[in-house]
Symmetry: C2
Subunit: 112 residues, 2 copies
């Protein structure tokens, strides 16, 4: 993954509605959620939601599939994985205390 791809993906997540959409879709897994349900859950008008869904799609973070009159959106695991790998491995390799689960207990100084 190159910088521009990562920037696109990060930009897609760097917006409250879109981050909420993303976080709503993660637990929905492969099953995903129809647009209308997302709109209702997050109280976003349809035209606005479509705009954000397109951004996420363009960034490779979600997928969609028509199902009757609804369109069902779901997390695109491959894209999410690539981004996280880029951040975790390419950025943080050699600095595992930045990311490695524990969040560096030895880094916590004077914070109790």
């Amino acid at each position: 993954m190159e910088v521009k791809t990562a920037v696109t993906a990060l930009a897609a997540l760097a917006q409250e509605s879109r981050l909420s959409i993303f976080r709503l879709l993660v637990p929905a897994g492969r099953v995903g959620m129809p647009a209308g349900e997302i709109a209702e859950a997050l109280d976003i008008p349809p035209a606005t939601l479509t705009f954000h869904l397109k951004e996420l799609t363009y960034a490779g973070l979600i997928d969609s599939q028509r199902e009757g009159r609804s369109i069902r959106y779901s997390i695109r695991e491959e894209g999410v994985c690539e981004l996280f790998t880029y951040l975790l491995l390419d950025c943080c390799n050699g600095q595992p205390e930045l990311c490695g689960g524990s969040c560096g207990p030895k880094n916590r100084r004077g914070k109790r």
Copy 2:
């Protein structure tokens, strides 16, 4: 960490210059790098660099410390860690195949 904080941090990284600054600072570790050196390494004019450094600082991703006439910037581990934890644990918990190192070999279908 709440959504707005995460959005601020993601937005800070969602820009090519800033992501490059971030990636330049990670291997520099706690030692960090003076602004001038960053400007030279990435070929960014001083005024522009300052703007981006402020964004990253505001987002809690980097720290700074004056050292003689230079100001030395370095990764703020705590902030980075919080963001990654938010994305990895809060988002991906229960969906470890999204993030867990392996990037789900069993998810790769028909892509060879």
